[in-house]
């Protein structure tokens, strides 16, 4: 049964089409695997087995009755959804106590589109609270463990989705990426994760963190799987005025082309001090592989890269402090009665939010407060313009940019929890792209000596996900990293938890 769970989305699609496998069988295999292993990995916050089997049965029915029709490639494919993306009728906690009992009465547009394509929803995956974090340790419920080494983090904030896909607890998943929250966990878990251009996917039903940066992204074990998911969720939505009415290419069709003559830019600023040497070596080797496939390697510069971190940690908290003002205990979520209205607000929010969320609300409120707005928020927004211009200039000289996704492989649980800046540095390679609103993908490009996956980030121009996917697919086809899967080691995890007090 466990081989079924290791299928990629295109493999499962083909077996389902041939009638060699039913969606119910596949879904049941995944549910069994989740029951066997999710106690160790803790990828899921909510599991919906009955609903999933019901959806799988109806997918099988559609396939049986509509034999002649052009059926969606995602029909009957079991997926996981990050717990910041609403699925009607399933709890949506955002990894926070303040939404512990919140059950959304509607589904996000991206989820609606997946459901319309016939995909099966297995459950909701763990996340750093309100997607604020880089390790999934900021979840108010529990930390998720990396399937490659259970004593390590899966990255974050979409760590539950990345770990679920890596461990074969879902064939694909949705996450959200504000500063790297899809790409960095994809890198640390050795799977493919794509963040599309800002505006490509509707944010309706995605709980807002930083509205000028948030985008829904996809996880899969291969580039083709990610392309299929992205194709299904992309497009204009009248309910999100920041979604863009641009044509959506058939992503799974654009992968095949070769990359001869394509210009691949290598930004010199991404060779930073403190980067793990194996990461640097693996990415250098990947650039060599792309060159051997006929790509032209171009040296480029993104001179304001080092400012992306401070810009992000002013802009995102500023937007978050405004977005999270809605949690007031009146219409939904936790409500703690205080002495008066104001005390009710303060008690509800003070008890309901965890430390990282409070830290960012405080930071954002300060950056926007009278007297500091110009020095912090406005200054950061101006430097954001410089960062965007860097990308415009670099992408005039090349078609895609290639960098590491994360400066290190997965770190130990607890290692960076107490030092916010160390944790924020995890996103040093992903933030600039988010600030520029451009698309990026992370895919496996090697392993370090401890057997932990290394991620390669490929970034592209606005609404040019097709080229990003094509380069990623060419690299993936020339290498075998994506074929490696973690051996789930329940024993070693028990030992290591016993050893830690």
């Amino acid at each position: 049964m466990s081989e079924l769970a290791q299928l990629t989305i295109p493999e499962a699609r083909d077996l389902l089409r041939l009638g060699e496998l039913s969606s119910v069988e596949l879904t049941q295999a995944l549910l069994n695997r989740i029951l066997a292993h999710d106690n160790d990995i803790k990828a899921y916050l909510t599991l919906a087995p009955e609903l999933a089997l019901e959806q799988a049965a109806s997918a099988d029915q559609i396939r049986a009755s509509d034999k002649e029709q052009d059926l969606s490639p995602l029909l009957g494919i079991p997926l996981a959804i990050k717990d910041v993306i609403c699925v009607e009728g399933l709890p949506n906690t955002c990894g926070s106590r303040i939404l512990e009992n919140y059950v959304p009465p509607f589904s996000a547009t991206a989820v609606e589109k997946l459901r319309r394509a016939g995909a099966v929803v297995l459950g909701k995956t763990n996340t750093d609270e309100f997607a604020m974090g880089s390790s999934t340790e900021n979840s108010a419920y529990f930390a998720t463990h990396n399937p490659w080494d259970l004593s390590r983090v899966p990255g974050g904030s979409s760590g539950g989705s990345a770990a679920a896909v890596a461990a074969g607890l879902a064939l694909g998943a949705l996450g959200s990426d504000t500063g790297g929250s899809v790409r960095q966990p994809a890198s640390l878990c050795g799977v493919v994760g794509i963040k599309p251009t800002y505006g490509r996917v509707s944010r309706w039903g995605l709980v807002a963190f930083a509205s000028s940066l948030d985008q829904i992204g996809c996880f899969a074990r291969t580039v083709t799987g990610a392309a299929l998911l992205l194709g299904a969720i992309s497009g204009y939505d009248t309910r999100d005025s920041t979604s863009v009415n641009a044509p959506v290419p058939e992503y799974s069709q654009v992968l095949a082309g070769d990359i001869r003559g394509l210009r691949v830019g290598v930004p010199k600023e991404y060779a930073i001090e403190g980067m793990q040497p194996e990461v640097e070596d693996a990415v250098r080797a990947a650039v060599g592989t792309l060159a051997s496939l006929g790509a032209e390697i171009v040296d480029v510069s993104l001179p304001h890269t080092s400012y992306a971190l401070p810009v992000y940690y002013l802009v995102a908290p500023a937007e978050a402090s405004a977005n999270l003002a809605r949690y007031d205990g009146m219409r939904y979520g936790l409500s703690l009665e205080g002495l008066d209205l104001w005390d009710t607000y303060r008690q509800t929010r003070g008890q309901g939010f965890g430390p990282e969320v409070k830290r960012r609300i405080m930071l954002g409120t300060y950056a926007l407060s009278a007297g500091y707005y110009d020095a912090y928020y406005r200054k950061a927004s101006q430097v954001r313009t410089l960062i965007r211009e860097d990308f415009d200039q670099a992408l005039a000289k090349c078609d895609v940019l290639v960098t590491p996704t994360s400066p290190t492989t997965a770190f130990k649980l607890g290692e960076k929890v107490s030092d916010p800046i160390q944790m924020y540095l995890q996103d040093v390679f992903t933030l600039a792209l988010s600030l520029a609103g451009l698309p990026g993908i992370s895919l496996p490009c090697g392993f370090d000596p401890s057997g932990l996956p290394i991620g390669l980030q490929i970034m592209g121009g606005a609404f040019d996900e097709a080229t990003v996917l094509r380069v990623a697919h060419a690299y993936e086809s020339a290498t075998a990293w994506h074929r490696q899967t973690p051996t789930l080691q329940r024993q070693s995890y028990r030992k290591s938890t016993e050893a830690t007090p």
Binding site: P105, Y307, P355, Y366, R384, I421
Partner: protein
């Protein structure tokens, strides 16, 4: 740390004749400003002026009165040290950030703006952590952005119009399903405005 700050400053003043010190701007009290160069005042949340130096020297961020250390007795003994210009000296890099820490009152003020109740421990923790994050963010002051337009969104946003037509919406019961308190089909909330009936 404090002693070393003043020792270093002392050495610095000896090596730099008074005549070459930059003049301190009008209205700037001693002990209020630790960085050289052009200044512009920024009102703090408490209304008293603090100073942030511009561009190149930007790392010497302004401080509020509460954050100022007591001046050492040396100041009373040596007139040169109590000259306003002395306090305008750009401190050596090693001590630039020592005065940046937020005050407890500032942390409490921000928590109030954000409607968050914080424990004493949290206040102290955030005071430390926010100070160091803001200190890190000071790197942005290295850049001259005087001619740069800010980016609030990467999209060229336009107004989105639609016909004023009734469309399906959430049923009232669904919209109220997550509310902690409801009454007669409404959200029930605590008293907002108090006064005579």
């Amino acid at each position: 740390m404090n002693t070393s700050l003043y020792q270093k400053a002392f050495v610095f003043i000896i090596l730099n004749p008074k005549g070459v010190l930059p003049p301190c701007p009008q209205g700037q009290g001693r002990g209020r400003c630790f960085s050289a160069g052009p200044y512009y005042p920024l009102p703090t949340s408490r209304g008293d002026p603090t100073f942030v130096s511009q561009k190149n020297l930007g790392i010497g961020i302004g401080i509020t009165e509460r954050a100022v250390r007591p001046r050492p007795p040396l100041c009373n003994l040596l007139p040169v040290l109590s000259h306003p210009a002395f306090w305008c000296i750009m401190p050596p890099a090693s001590m630039r950030f020592e005065t940046m820490k937020l005050s407890l009152a500032q942390v409490e003020h921000v928590a109030q703006l954000a409607q968050l109740s914080l424990s004493d421990q949290e206040k102290e923790l955030f005071r430390e952590q926010l100070s160091s994050i803001l200190e890190y963010a000071q790197r942005l002051q290295e850049l001259d952005t005087s001619a740069i337009a800010p980016t609030a969104t990467v999209l060229p946003l336009e107004n989105v119009m639609r016909d004023d037509q009734i469309q399906p919406s959430l049923p009232q019961t669904d919209a109220l399903a997550n509310a902690p308190h409801t009454q007669d089909g409404y959200f029930r909330v605590p008293v907002v405005l108090e006064g005579d009936e």
